[in-house]
Amino acid sequence: MKVKVKLFAILRERVGAGDLTLDIEDGSTVADLWRRLQQTYPKLNVPGIRLLYAVNQNYVSPNEVLKDMDEVVFVPPVSGGEACFA
């Protein structure tokens, strides 16, 4: 099945693209997808970064099982925090 991934902020800059479409196996979770992306784009390994996860514009746990054509966003820290030079 296919899922759409949107990348923002530091993740978008590191990959050099904001929108990806990926083929993944049925039953894959959000965490599985993130591991797969990190293998494809090693620059996504930002040391110490705390991500949140959103599917179809709602926050979910990393154990959420994905469905065909889901829109997945890996949410880096939002604007309230301190500088992250990693």
């Binding site: 530091i10 110490g48 939002v78 500088a83 992250c84 030079f85 990693a86």
Partner: protein
């Protein structure tokens, strides 16, 4: 009124929106770009949003504020793109019969925006740029909203 926009923000528009004959108090909060941060000389801030989800989260936090406090109306506008020194990046306006609720809900709104609304901030300073974010937040508990 919950809006993410690349245009300059207008405080009076938000205040007009929350004006209500039942209200005796209006509070507003404006976040502006300041010229320094942690010893760095700031040139500008650049905001990036996941706009559809950001607006949904703003609406959701507005509903939560109405559940928690007896407020009349709330309006939030967040700018994206470059925001120069002294210019506003976010504006909140809240009306209520009494000032206690108006202050509490306004404070709640900005804390929630900075905690949970998917809008990111890049600081452009003399000598570089950096995405602002915390490395030490709590990880998201499985199945819980942050």
């Amino acid at each position: 009124m919950f809006r993410v926009t690349d245009r300059p923000l207008d405080l009076q528009e938000l205040v007009d929106f929350v004006t209500d004959p039942e209200a005796g108090a209006v509070t507003t909060f404006i976040g502006t770009t300041r010229n320094n941060n942690e010893g760095r000389k700031v040139i500008a801030l650049e905001y990036e949003a996941y706009p559809e989800m950001a607006e949904k989260e703003l609406i959701r936090l507005g509903e939560e504020a109405k559940r928690r406090w007896p407020i009349c109306r709330m309006a939030i506008a967040h700018r994206i793109g470059p925001v120069q020194i002294t210019q506003p990046s976010v504006m909140i306006a809240v009306s209520a019969a009494h000032r206690e609720a108006a202050f509490a809900a306004c404070r709640f709104a900005i804390e929630e925006i900075k905690r949970i609304v998917p809008i990111w901030k890049k600081e452009v300073f003399e000598g570089g740029e950096v995405w602002i974010g915390t490395q030490s937040g709590e990880p998201l508990a499985p199945g819980k909203r942050p």
